[in-house]
């Protein structure tokens, strides 16, 4: 495991240059460049932008066509087996066996990852407890709710203590409470030292969880940075003028610097000395719209998400 230590010390989590992937004549990923340090990062994009394909390439599920790819310093094609021992994928469609109990699912995955029976049982108990599934551990997964399934699915991916966890749309199709609970789990996971690369269509999810947000649109990376950096990309704060009822009367864009905001405020003060004003940062939603020309999903639209989860 000396290898692992060096990975954590200096190797970037991901190092991608010129990555392309096509299915037949359909180009899904085009010439991607991306370097990410260890940590928790989100791949944000609308449906069909290529998020799942990228995650599948990085997690060794499908080969890439062109470019250089290093995950934890390893090539998913050449060093497939080694990398497979260090990462886990929790895909969009639950990978749990409905006819087995929660514990049996965990044990099965543990054994397949090469854990001894005893080690697998210990890890399974710990993870089930941590994900609040101990009470249902002996029940068949067929009786689980969508949220419980998703938690078990993620827990099963953690049994071999991966260095890097891929979560493909982890909260799609979950109700608000399950989503919040899962966010807490994901944050706790990251705090315990694992790196996480998750995909999402939801801006607030990326905003809430990720250190770096990579925006994917139509197979291209259109932005990459912290939430603050992305917001800064479409300019600085805006001055909003309100009437007494709080309705916005006017919005004045600024460059965001103190002097520029002051100059605009000065003009407002002279013209309308009594008006209410607020200064506001752009939301990620606006950034997303600006970057992709598309409306991003919001968590409230999640009912239209895939059906497969709860079924």
């Amino acid at each position: 495991m000396a290898y692992t230590d060096t990975v954590r010390a200096e190797t970037p989590l991901l190092e991608i240059t010129g990555l392309s992937k096509s299915y037949g004549r359909h180009r899904v990923l085009t010439d991607l460049d991306l370097t990410l340090p260890p940590g928790i990062h989100a791949l944000l994009g609308p449906n069909g932008s290529g998020k799942t394909t990228l995650v599948n390439v990085l997690s060794t599920l499908i080969p890439y066509d062109a470019g250089e790819v290093r995950v934890l310093g390893l090539d998913p094609r050449r060093d497939r087996k080694t990398l497979q021992g260090l990462v886990s994928l929790t895909g969009q469609y639950a990978a749990v066996d409905e006819k087995l109990s929660g514990t049996e699912n965990m044990l099965m995955m543990g054994r397949l990852f090469g854990l001894s029976r005893r080690a697998a049982a210990q890890r399974a108990d710990g993870l089930l407890e941590r994900f609040d599934l101990t009470g249902a551990a002996g029940d068949r997964v067929a009786t689980y709710s969508g949220g419980m399934r998703r938690k078990l699915d993620i827990a099963a991916g953690l049994i071999a203590q991966p260095q890097l966890i891929f979560l493909d749309e982890p909260t799609t199709g979950l109700d608000t409470r399950s989503r919040q609970a899962l966010w807490d789990e994901i944050t706790a996971l990251a705090d315990s030292g694992a790196s996480i690369f998750l995909t999402t269509q939801y801006l607030e999810e990326a905003d809430a969880l990720a250190e770096r947000i990579v925006v994917l649109h139509d197979g291209h990376i259109v932005a990459d940075g912290t939430a603050a950096q992305l917001k800064a990309r479409i300019g600085g704060a805006a001055i909003q003028l309100h009437d007494d009822a709080g309705h916005i009367l006017e919005e004045i864009p600024t460059r965001g610097s103190a002097i520029d905001v002051a100059r605009h405020l000065d003009a407002v003060a002279r013209a309308r000395p009594d008006v209410d004003v607020t200064v506001r940062r752009p939301t990620l939603d606006e950034v997303f719209l600006e970057l992709t020309g598309e409306q991003a999903g919001t968590a409230d639209q999640q009912d239209q998400g895939r059906e497969g989860v709860a079924a």
């Binding site: 054994r111 397949l112 990852f113 071999a160």
Partner: protein, 273 residues
């Protein structure tokens, strides 16, 4: 468990990947759990051979046997291998459903990102199908003896007969596994397999080929199940089979090689997107 910091994991707790053997063991166990936890399919596996046996022996038996100058107990001995193989066909068709389920859910995708050969999941389903269907064969034999089947066959002949049946179970299981792989859904998988379940009726299994219309005799006389049924029938009654036994073996070998080759070609390509 309080979350242990990931950096301090015990290095001995994990080997880098597991062998095919672990995969096979884990998935055979899983397949058996599936079989024995699904009361409907288990009931079907036992009830079906019982029903088939009773229907053929008591409803058709007398009249079919009369045409051949025999009686009901002669027909019992005649129909025994065909009932075993028909029941096995139904039992093996379950393989298509479970394989298709694994391929179309996220299950297989996760397995493919894990450090062991994912194809062992198919071997596990195959092994579980063998166990399940040999049990059904046992049920068929028990009923046959219960209904008065007696034989001079020794242990070697009986083992040979059951061995041939086991080999055909393997054939039909791998064929259904391949169907399960290519089918888009579990329903489609069992649909494709449906036609295979009628194969035993178009063989020498339930009625002599000579009694069939000429246009059917060509098929019924030369399809793979006929030599296997004839050979195992001979063995069950303590007779030495003729050329049928090696013709049957060749058919089985051919099908298994073909299905394994197809699986090897198709399996790696069938990655859900």
């Amino acid at each position: 468990m309080t979350t242990s910091p990931r950096g301090v994991q015990a290095p001995t707790s994990r080997r880098n990947g597991t062998g095919a053997l672990t995969g096979l063991r884990v998935f055979t166990g899983r397949g058996l759990k599936h079989s024995f936890r699904d009361p409907e399919s288990l009931l079907m596996a036992i009830l079906l051979p019982v029903m088939l046996m009773l229907i053929f022996v008591f409803i058709f038996g007398e009249s079919i046997a009369a045409g051949q100058g025999g009686d009901r107990s002669d027909y019992l001995a005649y129909v025994l291998p065909a009932v075993a193989l028909t029941a096995a066909g139904f039992g093996a068709s379950y393989t298509a459903v479970v394989v298709s389920n694994d391929m179309t859910t996220g299950f297989m995708n996760r397995l493919r990102t894990m450090p062991f050969p994912a194809v062992t999941v198919l071997l596990g389903h195959t092994a579980a199908s063998m166990v399940r269907n040999l049990l059904a064969t046992g049920v068929v034999l028990a009923i046959a003896f219960g209904l008065g089947f007696r034989t001079d066959a020794g242990v070697a002949e009986l083992a040979g007969a059951v061995g041939l049946i086991a080999l055909w179970i393997l054939v039909i299981t791998v064929v259904f596994a391949v169907l399960g792989m290519v089918a888009g859904s579990a329903e489609a998988a069992s649909g494709y397999g449906f036609v295979l379940l009628f194969l035993p009726y178009l063989s020498s299994g339930f009625a002599p080929v000579e009694t069939m219309p000429g246009w059917l005799q060509g098929f019924a006389g030369h399809q793979p199940m006929t030599p296997i049924i004839d050979a195992s029938r001979a063995l069950f009654s303590g007779r030495t089979p003729g050329d049928e036994w090696w013709i049957g073996l060749l058919w089985c070998g051919g099908f298994i090689v073909l299905a394994v080759w197809l699986a090897a070609v198709i399996f790696p390509r069938k990655v859900a997107r």
